[in-house]
Symmetry: C2
């Protein structure tokens, strides 16, 4: 069973956690609550959230009633920025055969892989965190 798209659990955790936190601006959401909501390992969720704190998208408070809160402006934060915070900058998927060595004039995939990657990037760029907030704040 093969997946065509590289959508890791790490990115999925990042996107869902950010959306969940953006929808509860009044409560401090902690790892336990979030990992339960999205049914993921709390260790993995903790790691991802720590990275998002380091990158400035989230803030955190330790101790009882601690947790994470949104620091970024949801109207300006795109899904692309979250995606790339976890995975690194998206690069166009080119055919692994070096073009100098490819025995064909044009790529076997034509420009499909380029098109598809752009389509994905454009989607992520067009969506902000605010688009996923039930009540706007």
């Amino acid at each position: 069973m093969a997946k065509v798209l590289n959508i890791t659990e790490a990115v999925t955790i990042a996107l869902h956690s950010m959306i969940i936190i953006a929808n509860k601006p009044d409560e401090q959401m902690n790892v336990k609550v979030i990992s339960t909501l999205i049914d993921s390992s709390k260790f993995h969720v903790a790691k991802i959230l720590q990275k998002l704190v380091k990158d400035g998208y989230l803030g955190s408070h330790r101790g009882p009633s601690g947790g994470f809160y949104l620091k970024a402006n949801p109207n300006e934060l795109t899904l692309l920025e979250i995606y790339e915070a976890i995975e690194g900058k998206i690069i166009i998927a080119e055919c692994p055969i070096d073009h100098d060595h490819c025995p064909f004039g044009t790529c076997v995939f034509d420009d499909l892989t380029v098109q598809m990657t752009k389509q994905f990037v454009d989607f992520l760029k067009s969506r902000t965190l605010a688009d996923y907030q039930k009540q706007k704040h």
Copy 2:
């Protein structure tokens, strides 16, 4: 640096090798020649070709002047079939969050991942090996 599309070197070797072999129906192409043409490890190329032989797409002859030859009908063999011979059946990339646990009514990615996967599959299905032969036989 993140790649959105899962296009492994293994699949790339399979597609390019099949096309190369289909274009030289009179010569026995061996691992050394093919791996040089596509600038890949001969060990890896050998592995992939062995699998394609087992699956019946190629035949082989050992010994001096041995090599691989096309067994499949290039007019009926699609790129999809080659792709799935190596990677396994393509499945729709769904969000790793179990739908029962997803806190959102609709997927964060909308149906983009479904659309993109179908687009890729449709492309691979629409191309036969014959489309890549310079002179038809």
